[in-house]
C-alpha cells in the first residue's frame, strides 16, 4: 500500500499525462464527466458518479472503425489507428462492474478488437466510495462500494490523502511510475479498512430484494404489468445512454463521393427506430414493448447469458429519468421487495 497527499494531485496528473492519455472526472459546470485531462481543468474526485458513465471511454458514443476509398481496382481500406495507452482515474466500484459486464459482451467471440485493445491498454484506477447517496443501491447486486475487484489499482480517500493498493501488474507498474510522489502506507491499513467498511454500511437498501427475480421474470413476458407503468415513459434515451451497462449500438456509413467511413454509435432500445425493419415492420411497435425489453434485458436476458444482473445500482436512471421510470421503481413494481420503503 502506498499513499499520496492530496496537495500532490496536480503533480500526479502532470506526471501521468506525460506518459499516457489521462481521463479524470472533470466538472463541466454542474455536470461531472470523464474527460482527457488538460492543465487548469477542475477535477472533482468527490462527485459520486459522473453523469456519463466511464463506459464511454471503451465503448465510445461515436467511433469510426472503417475508412475506405473507391479506386479503380475496388475498395481500399485504411487502418484505424488505436489511441494508445491511457489511465482512467476515479472509477467508482459500480461503474467498474459496469465495464466488466460490457466485457462479457464485447470480448466474447467474435471479439471486438478496438474495444479489446482499449481495455488492454488502459489502466483503471478505481476509487472506493465514502459517501453513497440516496439513489445508490449497488449492494443489492452484491457490489461492495469499498472494493473493486478487477481494477488495476484501488484508491481510497482518507481525507487528506489517497491510499493505493495495486491489484494487477498494470497497477504495480503505475505505482512504480509515480513512486517519487508516494509514501508508504502500511500503517494506514486499518483506517483504509474502516473507510471501506463504512461505505458498504452507508448504502441504502430501499427494501429491495432481487433474489429469485430473474426466475420469476421467466414467465412474465406476457404479464399485464407491462401494460401499466410504461405509459408514462417519454421514450427518450436518457436511461439507456446514461446506464453503465447498456451497450446497444447502430452501424452507419457516411459517404462523400469516392470516400467513406463506417462508424458505430450508441443506440437505444427506447427509440422506436431501434427495431424498425427495412420492410417497415416493427416488432416492438409501442413503448410498452420497448420498456419491457429494457427491464427484461437487465433482469432476465442478460443474467441468463452471463450469470449476473445487468444493473449495478449506480442510480443514474433514478436521478435522471424525467418521469421516474427507474430501476428502483420497476423492481418494486415487479415485486422485488421485502420490506418498507426508501
Amino acid at each position: 500500500m502506498k499513499k499520496l497527499k492530496k496537495e500532490k494531485l496536480t503533480e500526479l496528473w502532470s506526471l501521468l499525462a506525460e506518459r499516457t492519455s489521462l481521463y479524470l472526472p472533470v466538472d463541466e459546470g454542474g455536470s461531472v464527466n470523464f474527460l482527457p485531462w488538460e492543465k487548469g481543468m477542475e477535477v472533482d474526485l468527490d462527485a459520486l458518479n459522473s453523469t456519463i458513465p466511464p463506459k464511454s471511454i471503451f465503448f465510445q458514443q461515436t467511433e469510426v472503425y472503417l475508412q475506405y476509398t473507391t479506386e479503380e481496382d475496388g475498395l481500399k481500406f485504411e487502418e484505424i489507428t488505436p489511441q494508445g495507452p491511457a489511465v482512467l482515474f476515479g472509477v467508482r466500484p459500480c461503474d467498474l462492474k459496469g465495464i466488466q459486464l460490457l466485457d462479457n459482451v464485447f470480448l466474447q467471440e467474435p471479439e471486438d478488437s478496438l474495444y479489446k485493445q482499449r481495455r488492454l491498454e488502459t489502466t483503471i484506477v478505481a476509487l472506493t466510495c465514502t459517501k453513497p447517496d440516496s439513489s445508490c443501491f449497488c449492494t443489492l447486486f452484491d457490489i461492495d462500494p469499498g472494493a473493486a475487484p478487477g481494477a488495476d489499482l484501488l484508491a481510497t480517500d482518507l481525507g487528506e490523502e489517497f491510499v493505493f493498493t495495486a491489484q494487477s501488474e498494470k497497477g504495480e507498474s503505475l505505482l512504480e511510475a509515480i513512486a517519487t510522489l508516494l509514501e508508504d502506507a502500511e500503517a494506514d491499513s486499518k483506517a483504509v479498512e474502516e473507510v471501506r467498511r463504512q461505505a458498504k454500511a452507508a448504502v441504502p437498501t430501499h427494501g429491495l430484494d432481487v433474489e429469485g427475480l430473474k426466475e420469476k421474470l421467466d414467465s412474465m413476458f406476457d404479464d399485464p404489468i407491462w401494460g401499466t407503468f410504461y405509459r408514462r415513459c417519454l421514450g427518450c434515451g436518457t436511461c439507456t445512454y446514461l446506464c453503465p451497462t447498456c451497450h446497444c449500438f447502430d452501424i452507419q456509413d457516411h459517404t462523400r463521393g469516392e470516400e467513406g467511413l463506417r462508424f458505430r454509435c450508441w443506440d437505444s432500445c427506447m427509440f422506436g427506430e431501434f427495431t424498425l425493419m427495412a420492410s417497415g415492420h416493427n416488432p416492438r411497435p409501442t413503448q410498452k414493448e420497448r420498456v419491457r425489453n429494457r427491464f427484461l434485458h437487465k433482469l432476465n436476458y442478460y443474467p441468463k447469458n452471463f450469470e449476473s444482473y445487468a444493473c449495478v445500482g449506480c442510480g443514474r436512471c433514478v436521478r435522471k429519468c424525467p418521469v421516474n421510470l427507474d430501476m428502483i421503481e420497476v423492481i418494486k413494481a415487479l415485486g422485488g421487495v421485502t420490506s418498507g420503503s426508501c
Binding site: V64, R256, L261
Partner: protein, 149 residues
C-alpha cells in the same frame, strides 16, 4: 512545408463555394437573363432551382453548410410577385428569424443571405452574386457548421 506556409497556400488556393437556392419563377429567370445578356458572375455560385423561395427550409440551408458550402443564399420573387401569391411572405418571416438564430450561435450573417430578384433583374442577379461571393471570401472558409469528416 511549415504549418503557416501550408495554411497560407490553402488560403490562396481556396475559393468560396456558395449555394444559391433560386425560385423558379423570378430569381432563376433573373439568372437566365444575366446569362443571355452575358453579364458575368462568379463561378463560385452553385444554383439550385426550387419552385418557390418558401420551399427552402432551414434544414436545406444547414445541410449545404455541412456538406461544404461557405455561404448560402436564398433568392425569391419580390414581395407581391410570388407565383403562388404569398410564398415569399412566409420566406421573409421564416428566414428572418432563422438568420438571427444563426447569428446568435456565432455564425456571421454574411454567410447566410436572403434577397429578392425578379425575372427582369439580370443585372441585379449578377451584382448580388458578386457581392455575396466577395463577402464570404472576406470571411474565409466555413469551419463552424461544416461536417469535417
Amino acid at each position: 512545408m511549415s504549418v503557416t506556409e501550408k495554411s497560407l497556400q490553402e488560403k490562396q488556393a481556396w475559393e468560396p463555394l456558395i449555394v444559391a437556392f433560386c425560385c423558379n419563377w423570378c430569381s432563376y429567370a433573373g439568372g437566365d437573363l444575366a446569362g443571355t445578356s452575358r453579364m458575368p458572375y462568379p463561378a463560385n455560385i452553385r444554383v439550385i432551382r426550387v419552385p418557390c423561395s418558401s420551399r427552402v427550409n432551414p434544414m436545406m440551408v444547414l445541410r449545404a453548410f455541412q456538406r461544404g458550402a461557405d455561404g448560402v443564399l436564398v433568392a425569391g420573387c419580390h414581395p407581391g410577385d410570388c407565383h403562388y401569391t404569398s410564398g415569399n411572405y412566409y420566406t421573409r418571416r421564416r428566414m428572418s428569424v432563422f438568420r438571427r438564430l444563426l447569428e446568435y450561435t456565432g455564425i456571421e450573417p454574411e454567410r447566410f443571405q436572403v434577397t429578392w430578384i425578379s425575372g427582369s433583374e439580370g443585372a441585379k442577379f449578377a451584382q448580388v452574386m458578386n457581392r455575396v461571393t466577395e463577402e464570404v471570401r472576406a470571411l474565409g472558409p466555413n469551419r463552424k457548421l461544416r461536417d469535417a469528416r
